[in-house]
């Protein structure tokens, strides 16, 4: 954690200034509008204020933990990467899952559609992590690919996860892990 804070000093300083700014603005709004009076008139005002303070500080704290996967988070009050513009910029990498037949033809499996329940941003974060952590992540990648075997049609005999890299308006694909249906 300390190493990360040192590496991203600029990001941390900005976060601290931002947090102070947010506290000042929020106090200003509470002091100069009727919001606080309205809250006080509610029988559950203490609970509302506690939830407000909790969410407020969770959201501020979340700026300092952009790195995936998070060991601890504030589910269900804050989602990962709520505050875009990552300290390392945007990665131009992607992934593709191919179902291949004996002739080597590729039929793309849309993992985002297949597991739409997980949610696009969440699934995208997980696969981006798996692709970047390869080869350490290959056991987990195989489990994901195994779950897609049921989508096989005709002479298709393997499923492959490919890493896609965007370079000079072209996309390069690199095979990472493949699972054969005979396994």
């Amino acid at each position: 954690m300390i190493e990360l804070l040192n590496e991203y000093k600029n990001f941390v300083y900005r976060g601290i200034i931002e947090s102070i700014f947010l506290i000042i603005v929020t106090l200003y709004i509470l002091k100069n509008t009727v919001v606080i009076e309205k809250v006080r008139s509610n029988k559950n005002s203490k609970k509302i204020l506690i939830v407000f303070i909790l969410i407020f500080f969770m959201q501020i704290f979340d700026r300092f933990q952009y790195f995936y996967p998070q060991q601890y988070d504030f589910y269900p009050f804050v989602r990962f990467a709520m505050y875009q513009a990552a300290p390392d910029g945007v990665e131009l990498t992607s992934y593709k899952i191919c179902m291949k037949d004996v002739s080597g033809n590729c039929r793309e499996i849309n993992i985002a559609k297949e597991y739409s329940s997980i949610g696009l941003p969440s699934l995208s974060s997980r696969f981006n992590y798996l692709v970047n952590e390869y080869p350490n992540s290959q056991v987990e990648i195989k489990v994901w690919l195994d779950s897609l075997k049921r989508l096989k049609i005709n002479s298709e005999n393997k499923v492959i996860l490919q890493k896609a890299i965007f370079k000079k308006n072209k996309i390069e694909y690199i095979n990472l892990v493949e699972v054969s249906f005979e396994e």
């Binding site: 947010l22 269900p76 505050y83 513009a85 985002a112 597991y115």
Partner: protein
């Protein structure tokens, strides 16, 4: 109960109907969700988070989460939604909130974090529950507190982007890279409108749109503080902003759009700002 409510709050809006609409927003989310497909994933890739840190999901299932369990959870949520629809009861609303907590936690276990689209709706519903009295007579206040949190989120996100990235994030290739990345990665409809837009629209123009969108996110806080017509304008722009995110990046914020439309309706009918959060 309905008559008492109108005696106490003789406004133009029946907030009970808005409450039912909120339940319908949840219903469409749960009904359209292919939740049971998660039974195809091996439990070894499940991350135990939240309550599952205390009681690991491995204790209940050997290899895969049972499709029967997933279906049961989904049907239970829909049943409790129907119950909430038919009768106004805080306890059943609390049960719904707890069930959704587990429902989303299962998805999070396979994904890694909460989906963007559901966070706002969840907090919105939670605030309604917390601020409601048992007889639902302060439903209008509950809605207005929820909207306070709703718009604060936009404000936080916009401010965070400005502080963490200004000015470079709005000048360089961050936004266009973001569009490329989102277009390359698999999405439900694999829309490539973002990539097409990059062919025709100059980077500076897209950066300008990005900056203006961020300003509107920051400005969302004014929706609860300024005159009605301006707050409606900000809401309409935020709706366009969400459509833009979907078209260019395939990220779905349909629930936020529903909540913004409800807010426009409340402001139009009830003059929410002048009554509730006016400046001294």
């Amino acid at each position: 109960m309905k008559n008492n409510f109108h005696k106490k709050f003789p406004g133009k809006i029946n907030y009970f109907i808005l409450y039912k609409i909120l339940l319908l927003i949840w219903a469409q989310y749960v009904i359209l969700d292919k939740f049971t497909v998660l039974s195809n994933l091996h439990i070894s890739i499940f991350h135990n988070r939240g309550v599952f840190r205390l009681i690991s999901i491995d204790n209940f299932f050997d290899t895969h989460i049972s499709v029967v369990f997933l279906l049961f959870l989904k049907i239970s949520i829909l049943a409790i939604l129907v119950l909430n629809f038919l009768q106004n009861n805080r306890t059943s609303l609390l049960i719904f909130i707890i069930l959704i907590y587990i429902y989303e936690l299962i998805k999070k276990g396979f994904g890694g974090h909460l989906d963007h689209r559901i966070l706002t709706l969840y907090i919105f519903t939670l605030i309604i529950y917390i601020s409601l009295e048992n007889d639902f007579t302060n439903l209008d206040d509950a809605f207005k507190f929820s909207y306070l949190f709703f718009f604060l989120q936009y404000f936080f996100i916009g401010i965070a982007r400005i502080f963490s990235g200004f000015p470079e994030v709005f000048l360089g290739s961050t936004f266009t890279d973001w569009i490329i990345q989102r277009s390359l990665r698999p999405s439900y409809f694999n829309l490539e409108i973002g990539l097409k837009a990059l062919e025709y629209l100059p980077t500076n123009f897209l950066n300008f749109i990005f900056f203006i969108s961020t300003i509107f996110e920051v400005g969302a806080i004014f929706c609860i503080l300024i005159r009605n017509k301006y707050s409606i304008l900000i809401c309409i722009l935020l709706i366009f902003f969400h459509f833009g995110i979907y078209l260019f990046m395939s990220v779905n914020f349909i629930e936020n759009i529903f909540l913004l439309l409800l807010f426009i309706y409340i402001v139009e009918k009830d003059g929410l700002n002048e009554k509730i959060y006016s400046i001294h």
